[in-house]
Symmetry: C2
Subunit: 299 residues, 2 copies
């Protein structure tokens, strides 16, 4: 029985730091329970809401995290997933005790299926993977931890904005003045566009980036309220830099990162003038990646 | 500037633990400086001997570790390597500031080349990768760290015996009663044979196991003196279990382990009745593995 999320794993890699031209520390959430930072939010939700069961729609890390957090706290959990999700992801949710509810997204949307399930089980709590104050609060625990580091910049992936919003809340609460920089796939740069426009910009459909944790159509409203004034900027990362970052984390830091988790290092490679000589913490948000995808990335 | 070896990285993986049928903690040295536990011994040698330069023969992790430890402590380091060593290994020694001395092992043995270099530079210290009291002492720092864990067994790879000897010394000094179990490739099971015979048994040549860190012809004499009475036993690991262990560390624990580092988990898979229900710490000794080899292993 865990007493909550594991502390993040801090990794130094002199060769990677030299390659990136910065003083570097990696904050790896790949060894967090269920393999990504999502467990922080899921644990918070599971232990905060009074409901006996939790419903969520997630084909990725949040589903696994919510299932395991519920298992540990004695709650039921149902995860709605597309019927064509990767087998390893379905297996993972089941391994952590979750019920998998498969839908054909051509005929039923995730939101619609969640509404059906919620109507049939009014006592269940419907958890959003990112647009939820409990999610921000859960993720803020990583900010609390990183506030102790002597760094100028904390760079983290941006998808729905739950992680970066949590970092802003946690770092500021703990008195850190570190700049918080987002790293977003150029293919789905709605958050960068939102910062420029001063309001939430929505992608046309789910962006087909390799960073599957950032295939969100827009920032969450609760996250935007924190990020609009809290982010120092967003670096837009081309897919090729993302591949290179996964490869470098593997070869120079012995780290298995999922593509989304490699976004911050990729940002350093894309914008060297912005970071040169600074003390930078890159948040490696998760490590759950299909072996076939990973083989191709390091090949 | 580092003040010495990094603390080991403790990783829990509920799915891997369940798969292995034990209470499991991984002590990963894959994020140690230079990517393996060898930095512990190298740092000890570099900071203990008065000589301005160090000579060693190593085609693997000790060469990188010795080069970096010397760079950090202001010493010179020459590493003798076979001319057909993998390019990534030669590059790594150079990246850590070492001079690489390539030899054609068909015409010159490593020992002979070391003798030549030592004769030309009498002020240099000749460091053995494993059969050296400083090496045991350096590795004992890992035993000091693991003594704090509530475990019944500490399982670690056996090659020349430097790591397990260091664990025996460190764990016992710190008052731990944990059993120390070796994990050795069946293809080169000289250590297991030695325990049975009561004296050092020597392999016929270098065993062609995938666990390249355990391709030693025999235990070191100084290590044998510690291990003969200090080891609770040795599990002999077939190559197939080694492959499975690398794959499981990757898929269930998000860990990039080199084959030698996966020996302890492989031992758990091979001898389930020995470990069932016990609290086990597996030492993942290093993570430096060629991308092409790794791709094949996780395929």
């Amino acid at each position: 029985m865990t007493a909550g999320p594991r502390a993040t794993t801090l990794i130094e890699s002199p060769r990677l730091a030299r390659h990136a031209g910065v003083e570097l520390v990696l904050a790896s959430e790949t060894f967090q329970y269920t393999g990504s930072f999502k467990f922080r939010a899921a644990w918070r939700v599971a232990t905060s809401v009074p409901n006996p069961r939790v419903l969520t729609a997630s084909s990725g890390n949040f589903g696994q995290a919510m299932a395991y957090a519920c298992q540990l706290s004695g709650k039921g959990c149902t995860v709605v997933m597309p019927h064509n999700s990767a087998g390893v992801k379905i297996d993972a949710v089941r391994a952590y005790g979750g019920i998998v509810d498969l839908i054909d997204t051509r005929t039923t949307s995730r939101a619609e299926r969640i509404r059906q399930l919620a109507a049939a089980d009014p006592a269940a709590y419907v958890a959003s993977p990112y647009d939820d104050l409990q999610v921000i609060e859960g993720n803020s625990s990583l900010g609390d931890e990183l506030a102790a580091l002597p760094v100028d910049d904390v760079v983290a992936p941006v998808g729905g904005g739950g992680l970066t919003a949590g970092l802003v809340v946690g770092l500021r609460r703990a008195g850190s003045a570190a700049a918080i920089v987002g790293a977003e796939p150029l293919l789905g740069n709605d958050a960068a566009q939102s910062l420029r426009a001063g309001h939430i910009v929505v992608n046309d459909g789910e962006p087909q980036t390799l960073a599957d944790g950032a295939r969100t159509v827009s920032l969450g409203e609760r996250n935007w309220a924190v990020l609009q004034g809290g982010l120092a900027g967003i670096v837009e990362v081309p897919e090729e830099a993302l591949r290179e970052a996964v490869r470098l984390l593997f070869s120079l830091a012995n780290l298995k990162a999922e593509p989304t988790g490699a976004l911050p290092l990729a940002a350093l490679l894309c914008a060297p003038e912005r970071f040169r000589g600074r003390r930078v913490c890159c948040v490696v948000s998760g490590g759950n990646v299909d072996p076939a995808v990973f083989r191709e990335l390091i090949g």
